[in-house]
Subunit: 175 residues, 2 copies
């Protein structure tokens, strides 16, 4: 696909935050002209569809400051530096819901918004759950909710799931 | 969900780019403590699953600079200021693929990465396509590719679709 490739000419880090950093680059376009590209650098993340022995899906409700509302989502979290995605999935699931995954199946790995960020999301389904205890980050406040398969299908049909990774996860898990 | 709400205390715009802007805010957490939140402001976007009379799906292959590779995606694009999502979907479909949508059905509206950006994506399926001509932006280089339903299902099964909106679109369109 070399006829589509854009080549980096210059790169400047314009913001470095706690989680994200922002680069402003100039690139050489396929036709030889120049353009600018802003890139939001992100460490990557995981998301998990946890299914209980009774067939219920464990979802979390969490306030999302960027959109100023609480969203119903699958448990998810950012990769620690050097952390394997599967290890992160097990850790985040247990921290956010208090469930340890007996089995973890990889569903998909995808880019959330490749037009402006390199964030990559690794998605799993977790089964054979055993209960430990919730242990969220200091600045995380999360409600745990349980949904039957029929309720999940109704949430999807009613367009009440409005988070991308949650849509991908529930649809790929067969709901 | 007021027991989950975070309240803005201060807000500073730390970067303003051509498409995105970045804010660094401090917030009051539900337990009264303070935390910081970085927010990537985005104008919002649309994506379209175009299905031809022959039942083929029209996908675009495009270099995504943030991830330094070309991705196979559904046609998509950013909302112009004040533009209605449905108008944007028709415009972007025609610009990127040269197809005018006879019918447009809303599949979903979702947030791509609500942990750090307010980007909202409106997703449609387009049918009754009529051919006009491709007319991409100056800095856009796009290949158009056609896939049968069986090929789409194989791409999904082989985990070769690695773009979130494309996964949501193809799965919600029934593939």
């Amino acid at each position: 696909m070399s006829h589509l490739t854009e080549h980096k000419l210059t790169s400047e880090t314009v913001y470095t935050g706690k989680i994200i950093a922002v680069r402003h680059d100039t690139v050489r376009l396929p036709d030889g002209r120049e353009a600018t590209r802003d890139v939001v650098e992100h460490p990557g993340a995981v998301a998990v569809v946890p299914v209980t022995a009774a067939g219920e899906v464990v979802l979390v409700r969490q306030y999302r400051y960027p959109i100023a509302r609480a969203l119903l989502e699958v448990p998810a979290g950012k990769l620690d530096k050097g952390e394997r995605p599967e290890d992160c999935a097990r850790r985040e699931l247990e921290e956010e819901t208090g469930y340890k995954a007996g089995s973890l199946e990889h569903l998909a790995t995808f880019f959330t918004a490749p037009g402006f960020t390199d964030e990559q999301m690794h998605l799993y389904v977790a089964r054979d759950l055993s209960q430990t205890s919730q242990n969220t980050d200091q600045d995380e406040f999360i409600d745990i909710e349980y949904y039957t398969a029929a309720q999940i299908k109704k949430l999807l049909a009613d367009k009440e799931i409005i988070d991308a990774k949650t849509l991908v996860g529930l649809l790929m898990a067969g709901y």
